[in-house]
Amino acid sequence: AVDPLDDDDREDSRNNCMIEKLPDDILISILSCMRIDEAMRTSVLSSRWRYLWRYMDIFTSDTLVFDYIDNETGTKMKRKKFKNLVNYVLNSYRGPFLDTLIIGYNKLGARSRDVDNWIVFAMNKEVEDFQLDLSNLNWSHCGYKFPKIEKLSSLLHEGIEAPFRSLRSLILVDVDIEDELVRYFLESCPYIEKLSITASKTTKNLQIVDSFGYLEELEISHCNNLQSMEISALNLVYFKYQGMKIRLPFKNTPNLSELALGGHFCDSFIYEPNKHSSYSDQLVDLVLKLQANNDFYFLDRTIVPPDSAQLHNLERLELTIESQVGESLLFFTSLIKASPHLQEFKIKVNVI
């Protein structure tokens, strides 16, 4: 069957004025289904269409999401086009506040006035959930640095108390953030519930002190220059850490019950359980991701460690293991034996 809309030979005059008879609010609802650059292009059609796109939902929406990779098709937008798109939307945005701003951009190089401006925009719209992901698909580090607090303060709009005071959730991927700035967020954002930092090269000595008691979720992953971390957060429930083996970071975390580990620290959790017994008993959910290329790999997994893990409250356990063909996984039964209340167990083996 021929699609009636793609049939170019059809008599066009049949459709005369068909769209012109629609009222503006319907045209705007049609434009709202388009990607912003497609909608903006309609301004060339005729004077009626000139400014219609400005009334699209997106310019007053409380949530803005930009991803340079199309979710449905997986195609990537050119950098320049993507930057233009974000800049145009942010410049034409009319809402007084923005709840959520999510930007996923394939950044090249450390400096970017565009990204600086997006952060300043988020700050001046008193954003609550802010996510900035600059990672490449191949994880080459772009080195973009989150602007310093002095710089942000100098660009703060009049009438706003302090930068990012409304923040509830901050997720940064492949954004270098200074430890000092992390401390600022924890000390000055009274509503902060979630903090996630991935692949920040400037993260070295982290003091996660929750002064307000709302912090529930924390992720620190692939920050390869991290030397130490100390967490004191009364209501922290979830913690994800993937990276170097560091001294135990848990200083005051009585409500921590969901833990996700990867990297050397995860190996230590499995192979040196006595070092983790001070907190392992409070865990209810545990996700462990073991990679093959590490020091512990050469330990024979068939030998059960001399002491066994203490996981008396554990209900769910998820293991992801990189393993060589034919290698025994019996070792990991020691984790199950250590968890008398286990209800759900998932294991995923990636054979290398």
């Binding site: 809309l5 068909m18 012109e20 008879k21 609802s29 388009m34 292009r41």
Partner: protein
């Protein structure tokens, strides 16, 4: 038209060209406009729909019956909507979106809007003007200025070599 068995309440809808249609109340109340009339007790006799013609109303009722026969399964509903709209031409789509707006049927409204949007995307300005009967009232200078203003949006889009 509407299933007679098991659905005791049937409504009669009248188009603006005086065609009468009977439809199960359970399907018809997908339209918030009709639902409000039913709730206000105005649905006893014939419900006049002054902004919808018979041809469009017949189509909308087909949609109402089709979609309400599908249990709560968003995926199946979506594929029904896609199939339902797949053989409609521009004129019908425009009538349909007007009717959906008047009848306050957000699911049909959204689906038709998305369909029209999808047709316009990536097409040249000339193509869209021709297909949708849009008269260009810009002077050549004005048009060039608007185009220049949104230059970046024209990257990777069909051009009007034939215009």
């Amino acid at each position: 038209m509407a299933a007679e068995t098991g659905t005791p309440t049937t409504l009669t809808l009248k188009s603006n060209d005086d065609e009468l249609f009977s439809v199960a109340e359970s399907a018809a109340i997908l339209s918030v406009t009709i639902r409000n009339m039913v709730e206000d007790g105005c649905a006893g006799g014939v419900i006049p729909l002054d902004n919808v013609d018979g041809k469009t109303l017949a189509s909308v009722i087909t949609y109402m019956n089709g979609i309400s026969a599908i249990p709560a399964d968003e995926e199946k509903k979506k594929s029904y909507r896609d199939k339902f709209l797949s053989d409609k031409d521009f004129e019908t789509l425009a009538d349909m979106v007007l009717a959906a707006n008047y009848l306050n049927m957000s699911c049909l409204m959204d689906a038709v809007s998305a369909k029209i949007a999808q047709v316009m995307e990536k097409k040249s300005v000339g193509w869209v003007r021709r297909k949708f009967g849009i008269e260009n009232d810009y002077t050549p200078e004005e048009e060039a200025a608007v185009k220049e203003e949104h230059k970046w949006t024209f990257e990777g889009v069909e051009t009007d070599d034939d215009n």
